[in-house]
């Protein structure tokens, strides 16, 4: 089992979710975040003074998948989230020791 962390542009959420559903991913969790990276922020003027907005709104998706789904899921995300412009985001894969479904106490891949 692996944890896939994907950082994407917010307006791509729906497409990514649909792409993942298609390949059989059954669950995930999304959090709002602010990203810092090559895609720089911008400056604003408020009452005559400039200020920098350094961080860019991003969404962070997290999903734990069985090992066989890591490839397809990564690809699905990459394809759906891609605009080709700077700031599209990243996909990280991390090892997972165990998983459990709270409702049923199932564990391992059954919990996903």
């Amino acid at each position: 089992m692996k944890l896939i962390i994907a950082i994407i542009k917010p307006f791509k959420l729906e497409e990514v979710r649909e792409a993942l559903t298609k390949i059989g991913v059954q669950g995930l969790v999304v959090t709002e975040g602010k990203g810092f990276g090559r895609q720089s922020g911008h400056t604003e003027i408020y009452r005559g003074a400039e200020y920098a907005v350094t961080f860019v709104p991003k969404l962070k998706l997290e999903l734990v998948v069985q090992d066989t789904l890591v490839g397809p899921a990564t690809e699905a995300i990459a394809t759906a989230a891609k605009t080709g412009r700077i700031g599209d985001g990243k996909i990280f894969v991390l090892p997972v020791d165990s998983a459990m479904r709270i409702r049923t106490a199932e564990s391992g891949e059954d919990a996903l």
């Binding site: 604003e44 003027i45 408020y46 009452r47 005559g48 003074a49 400039e50 200020y51």
Partner: protein, 474 residues
């Protein structure tokens, strides 16, 4: 532009030296003036009792409209401070309005209107005493005669709201860092003494009135007074932490633009009462025309101020700055307040527009001077107030109560004298007062309290507990 307008109505807001015995309140002399034109001649004119009711009604309507401005200041300020200070700003606004209501009753009103012989120092400081109104006797009969031309309770109500507005101006500038109670102590003295003394110089028949100063509804007496006090406080308090860091200005965007917009609209609405009610009489065709002209002028001055700020920020920054547009509308209103009657509408528009321009340049200028004015009250109320007061002279060549005619430049000098006198006094007294508070009580919250916000630090009530970093947001 060398017209002679013989008798300016606002000169009669206060004492008319020739009719001292009649002086019972703000509008007495005015009514006296108004009567010949209306009530006393009954050939189609308005009967005296009707004049009384009309004038009273103008005060009451004007008064509730100006009262509503308290909500406007509260919303404007709540919208322009950061969310961690919003509850505090609401608290200060409702507290200062309440306090003004009480201090003006206990001390202020009688200081403002010393009338005949109730001066502590003739022309300068009225005798403080309680104004405990009781208008009807046990038998339900009025305690004051119809000849007064209006109910003195309605005048009190109206004047009180001006006093409260002065205090509201201060709270915006000093937001996000001044402690609650020291601010309220200052407010009590501002509304009980400082404002009443300043206003008495003109509207109470004091030195400025004698000098021929002209300030119809209070560009200087109300708005600049508030602005000077705010400036003194801002200097002594210092800027919000982080505002001027590393030689740069770091804006701290306000938490809610719709509330700031709402506040501005409320103030705009209330200003019809502020300026229109300052005609002090409605019981004749001339007065009805005057109030109408004032409404029309007040509105277009605000329009001019808003649009000027809009166009200017677009040109300067390539983007319209909404907060400047809101400030611009208010600056337009402040600018026309010193003389909303005499200008034609086009003139009123230009006067207001210049107010808007002043704001756009003054806001960054204050930043350069490291004076941190959270809501822009100093540009809006102090600077546009000065401009409006000077502009009076361009527009009219007044023959004032003493019967002296003046040239425009003579009148400019009188106006500058008034502006200077009010500024010197208000700034000096406010500065001393804030200094005393600073030394003996402390006026500024601690660094940590400022960081966590005054809501958490001083009153323990979050403005938006479920949004942003609110404690109930999980």
């Amino acid at each position: 532009m060398t017209r002679i307008s013989p008798i300016r109505l606002d000169d009669f807001r206060g004492t008319n030296p020739m009719n001292k015995t009649l002086l019972l309140g703000a509008a007495t002399a005015l009514t006296f003036l108004a009567m010949p034109a209306s009530a006393q001649d009954s050939g189609g004119g308005v009967p005296a009792d009707s004049v009384f009711v009309f004038n009273t009604l103008l005060f009451l309507i004007g008064g509730f409209l100006v009262m509503w401005m308290a909500a406007g200041f509260a919303m404007l300020e709540a919208g322009l401070v950061r969310s961690k200070n919003v509850s505090m700003q609401c608290t200060k606004n409702i507290a200062l309005f309440s306090l003004a209501g009480i201090m003006f009753t206990l001390v202020g009103y009688n200081v403002l209107y010393p009338g005949d012989g109730n001066w502590l120092y003739e022309g300068w400081v009225g005798n403080p005493s309680v104004k405990d109104i009781k208008l009807l006797d046990e038998a339900g009969n009025p305690t004051v005669a119809a000849g007064d031309g209006y109910s003195s309770g309605s005048d009190f109500f109206f004047q009180l709201m001006f006093c409260a507005a002065t205090a509201s101006i201060v709270s915006g500038t000093l937001a996000e860092r001044i402690k609650l109670w020291p601010f309220l102590i200052f407010t009590a003295i501002l509304t009980g003494l400082i404002y009443p003394i300043v206003a008495s110089w003109q509207w109470g028949g004091g030195v400025l009135s004698a000098a021929g100063f002209s300030d119809f509804a209070g560009s200087t007496l109300v708005h600049s007074t508030g602005g000077w006090a705010a400036l003194a406080g801002a200097i002594l308090l210092g800027a919000r932490r982080g505002k001027f860091r590393d030689g740069q200005v770091h804006p701290m965007p306000g938490s809610s633009m719709p509330l700031a917009t709402l506040g501005t609209f409320i103030l705009w609405l209330g200003w019809f009462g502020f300026n229109g009610g300052s005609q002090l009489a409605l019981g004749s065709i001339a007065d009805a025309d005057a109030v109408s002209q004032i409404f029309a002028n007040t509105n277009i001055a605000a329009s001019g101020g808003a649009l000027a700020a809009m166009v200017l920020t677009q040109l300067l920054y390539g983007k319209v700055d909404l907060t400047m547009v809101l400030n611009g509308a208010l600056a337009g209103l402040v600018s026309i307040t010193a003389e909303p009657l005499a200008p034609t509408m086009i003139e009123a528009m230009l006067i207001g527009a210049i107010g808007g321009v002043i704001v756009v340049f003054a806001v960054p200028l204050l930043d350069k001077m490291r004076i941190d004015d959270v809501v822009g009250a100093i540009p809006v109320h102090l600077l546009a107030g000065i401009w409006g007061t000077i502009a009076v002279a361009f527009n009219t060549q007044t023959e004032i109560s003493e019967g002296v005619a003046r040239t425009m430049s003579e009148q400019v000098m009188v106006q500058l004298y008034g502006i200077g006198l009010v500024g010197l006094f208000t700034f000096a007294v406010s500065f001393m007062l804030f200094l005393i508070l600073k030394l003996f009580v402390g006026i500024r919250v601690s660094e940590e309290d400022e960081y966590i916000g005054l809501d958490a630090a001083e009153i323990g009530i979050e403005a938006y507990p479920e949004f942003g970093k609110g404690s109930q947001s999980l």
